[in-house]
């Protein structure tokens, strides 16, 4: 297992480093000069030169890159050109909001998916299947921003029972109940497509598992269907579902851009949009790198969880590791 972990970690690191060079170069190729944006229409050449020097944009590419790497390693990301504040805290604040929202949606989606698919499989009723399938398809077929807007219109504007957007005023921990209400609508809008995908996959996986010989064995032993689904089939369907969950996590992060826009949720999605349109290199670079790191880590995590959940992988490699 450790060997497996290390080899996965190595390739993850390689991808990240290559990505960092790519991103750094790419950002500098984007047309539009950050200095012009910063200095504004009425700036004199002198003030523009001053800004250029202040930002270190007068140095050669590799020197800038190495500097940036150094800053990254020290976690000192310097000030943002345009958005203001320290890039680190800017991203940390945004990341907190996005992560809370995404994780909330992920929990909603996966809990909902497990509930819905086990209910469908255990119940084994035609009407339940049709209902879920219809819900499912609807959740996938309606664009996220449309769902989000409808939710706002219904639950915040027409019947104002939930906030129309924004983050809870006192932070997430001060009043968990208030925070929950703030999270509910954006979380729901974000979770729906992921829920649909997960439910579809899990239902399918459970049906596949139920066709496996070990299920026949269990049934022949007189173990009730519901118990087989809950204690055996679900457990077997989990590893592959974790992989799908990992993919959905990436999709959620992408969808968060839209949901954050609709719900005025000050997260990373907004930062990306603003950062790129205002040519805020320091912010965008780190954000892009962050999205690569998140992707790589998610893949790593799903691989590791997958391996850990499957005793065939887990124990096999441990034995091999021990024999060395």
């Amino acid at each position: 297992m450790t060997r497996y972990l290390f080899s996965r970690l190595g390739s993850a690191l390689l991808v990240t480093v290559l990505a960092s060079i790519g991103i750094f170069a790419l950002i500098r190729l984007v047309p539009g000069d950050p200095v012009s944006v910063l200095a504004g229409p009425d700036a004199t050449p002198a003030s523009r030169a001053a800004i250029r020097a202040e930002l270190g944009l007068d140095r050669p590419f590799w020197s800038q890159y190495v500097h940036w790497l150094g800053d990254l390693v020290r976690l000192d990301l310097g000030p943002s050109y345009k958005l203001g504040g320290d890039v680190g805290s800017l991203i940390a604040d945004g990341a907190l909001n996005t992560v809370v929202l995404t994780l909330f949606a992920l929990v909603l989606a996966s809990a909902g998916a497990v509930a819905a698919s086990t209910a469908a499989v255990v119940g084994d009723k035609r009407w339940l299947d049709s209902l879920l399938s219809a819900l499912n398809t609807a959740a996938v077929a309606v664009p996220t921003f449309a769902t989000a807007l409808v939710l706002v219109l219904v639950f915040a504007v027409r019947f104002p029972v939930l906030p129309a957007g924004g983050t809870p005023p006192g932070g997430f921990l001060a009043h968990p109940d208030i925070a929950f209400q703030y999270l509910l609508l954006p979380g729901l809008a974000l979770a729906l497509p992921a829920w649909a995908a997960l439910t579809r996959f899990l239902t399918e996986a459970l049906h596949t598992e139920l066709r496996q010989p070990y299920v026949t064995t269990a049934r022949a032993l007189g173990i009730p269907r519901r118990r087989i689904v809950l204690t055996q089939a679900l457990r077997n369907a989990l590893p592959s579902s974790i992989t799908v969950l990992g993919i959905q996590f990436g999709t959620l992060l992408g969808g968060a851009i839209l949901v954050e826009a609709v719900f005025a949720w000050p997260g990373l999605g907004r930062l990306v949009e603003q950062g790129i349109s205002s040519r805020d290199y320091p912010v965008v670079q780190v954000l892009l790198l962050l999205s690569v790191v998140v992707f790589v880590l998610t893949q790593l995590a799903t691989d590791v969880i997958h391996a850990w959940l499957d005793p065939r992988v887990r124990l096999d490699s441990r034995v091999k590791g021990a024999s060395r």
């Binding site: 269990a218 049934r219 032993l221 173990i223 009730p224 457990r235 065939r312 124990l315």
Partner: protein, 555 residues
């Protein structure tokens, strides 16, 4: 031993019929009575409805299946009971064991968990009591160190041990009837023999009545008290084992028994009938069709030093026109050796010579030319043909690759080849999925012979086929081999098959060559111990010899 079972019926199946949406019913009319403490064999080829009959007893038919008739357990009607009622009977009164121990156990749960789960299903013993009972059960199915095995996962056990665990599960709640669906088919012969003995002992100890579903007449002869022969969903013949084998009444039973390949008696005089004559004609001095010189094959990455040897230092030559059988149990490396000849696995050490030339040392263009003399027939008739192409195109493929002749000539050759494997030329337009297993294997053979190879590597070409089909395919193979004179590496786990087709046999064990020699002498008077044990374990399709063999095995 026979006094163990009475004539009291414990399970009665009457006029059972099972139908799907397909035109032909899976089971048409089956009536079987099982007596307490007896071992009843349900025998038939694929599609005979033997498995469906057993599944119907426990209400485990696939969705969409409709069963009519009557199944009575202890004079209680159990066909069509609701799921909850059935669950009281399943495992507690009637238990079932399945063919594939590899997949019959939940891969992500420990053995102990699965045993406890089986116990919980009928009453809720405490965890401690369940654990104790689980150990007891593992001991009963003769698994060593049962306490330690509780924490093991299925993949940590060997195939035989898995089947023992499956048996333990079935026996957990002391059922009166055990339905065993091909319980030994997926196992090596030596393991099969052990499991059969275990079944017999369980019956003796607990008085459980056993329904043994099998296609293997040897297994039937080995332990069954009575036999029911099924064909296409109907009972053909029924009778006491000895009587049935001695005097089969129905033509189908006769055919079935006749198709069974028999091995010579051990230590009998060597009868080198047809084989001997054929072998004498072989020219062993000419350049061998294929020769292995001290070959090694390793699996796993050798770079990281984790490789384990699949083949270790094997030297073997196949003369032109000679059929060499490769036998051994799973993991012996017989398939690897065949794939090595076909160039499908990398060689770690040694030399492989095709017609005297070192394949790997040869230049690229030469290698391609050498390849032309090679062909490969795979075990699995399902996967051995590309499902996207008509079989004619599959047969043509080797000709297309080497651009042999004009397209019209190639088509003519395809027709010729189809004729050679005794299929109508019109079959060229069919898709593989429209053919039966035996027909597909014929097509695979036709494709392999398209370029008139000097060497054919046949990897278990008949192991997925029914006995009667197997017999016909083997006969065809023999015929073609004699006519076309190609050399062949014939890989099989079935000693009788090898005995039937091969001139010489090479016995492999754990990647090493144990014994090589003419078929007749090796199978009658093996020099090494291992082939002898292997031959010993093969069930003999003759109940008359049962007593002697049981004595032998016990010693």
């Amino acid at each position: 031993m026979l006094d163990l079972h009475s004539t009291e019926a414990v399970l009665e199946i009457e006029h059972l019929a099972i139908s799907f949406s397909q035109p032909r019913p899976a089971v048409e009319d089956v009536s079987v009575t099982l007596h307490r403490g007896e071992i009843l064999a349900l025998v038939g080829e694929s599609g005979s409805g033997k498995s469906m009959t057993a599944r119907a007893v426990l209400g485990l038919l696939p969705p969409g299946a409709k069963a009519t008739g009557s199944i009575r357990y202890d004079d209680e009607e159990i066909l069509g009971l609701p799921e909850a009622e059935l669950n009281r009977i399943r495992g507690r009164r009637i238990a079932m064991v399945f063919q594939e121990p590899q997949t019959a156990l939940n891969p992500v749960r420990t053995i102990g968990w699965q045993l406890r789960e089986a116990l919980r299903a009928h009453g809720t013993p405490s965890r401690k009591a369940a654990t104790e009972r689980a150990i007891e059960l593992l001991r009963a199915v003769e698994i060593p160190e049962p306490e330690r095995r509780l924490a093991a996962y299925p993949h940590q056990l060997s195939g035989g041990q898995k089947q023992r665990v499956v048996l333990a599960l079935a026996l957990a709640n002391e059922p009166e009837v055990l339905l065993a669906d091909e319980p030994t088919t997926a196992l090596d012969v030596t393991v099969q023999a052990e499991i059969l003995r275990l079944l017999d002992r369980i019956r003796e100890r607990t008085g459980t009545a056993i329904v043994l579903i099998t296609h293997n007449m040897g297994v039937v002869a080995e332990i069954a008290d009575r036999v029911v022969v099924l064909q296409a969903g109907n009972v053909v013949e029924e009778g006491e084992t000895r009587a049935l084998f001695a005097d089969p009444g129905e033509p189908y039973t006769q055919t079935l028994l006749a198709s069974v390949l028999r091995l010579p008696e051990l230590d009998e005089p060597v009868v080198e009938a047809r084989r001997a004559q054929a072998a004498s004609q072989l020219d062993h001095r000419s350049v061998p069709a294929v020769e292995f010189r001290g070959v090694h094959v390793r699996y796993g990455s050798s770079r990281r030093g984790r490789a384990f040897p699949a083949i270790a230092d094997v030297s073997l030559a196949v003369a032109p026109g000679e059929v060499v059988g490769l036998v051994g149990e799973s993991g012996s490396g017989k398939t690897t050796l065949g794939r090595l000849a076909a160039g499908l696995v990398p060689l770690a050490d040694g030399q492989v010579l095709l017609r005297g030339e070192d394949v790997l040392a040869a230049p690229r263009s030469e290698r391609r030319h050498l390849r032309r003399g090679l062909a490969f027939v795979h075990q699995d008739p399902e996967a051995s043909l590309d499902p996207r192409y008509a079989v004619g195109a599959s047969i043509r493929e080797p000709l297309d690759i080497h651009r042999v002749g004009t397209p019209a000539e190639r088509d003519a050759r395809v027709a010729e080849l189809l004729e050679a494997v005794q299929l109508p030329a019109s079959y060229a337009d069919r898709r593989p999925r429209e053919l039966s297993g035996g027909q597909r294997q014929r097509i695979a053979l036709a494709r392999a012979l398209a370029l008139e190879p000097a060497l054919l590597v046949a990897d278990e070409p008949t192991s997925a086929l029914d006995v009667s089909v197997q017999a016909r395919v083997l006969e065809l193979f023999r015929e073609l081999q004699e006519r076309m004179g190609f050399a062949c590496l014939f890989i099989s786990h079935d000693l009788a098959v090898v005995h039937q087709v091969a001139d010489r046999v090479a016995v492999l064990r754990a990647g090493q060559l144990v014994e090589v020699g003419p078929v007749g002498s090796v199978f009658s008077r093996p020099a090494a111990d291992y082939p002898r044990r292997l031959l010993d374990a093969v069930p003999v399709p003759d109940p008359a010899r049962r007593g002697r063999r049981v004595k032998e095995l016990a010693s």
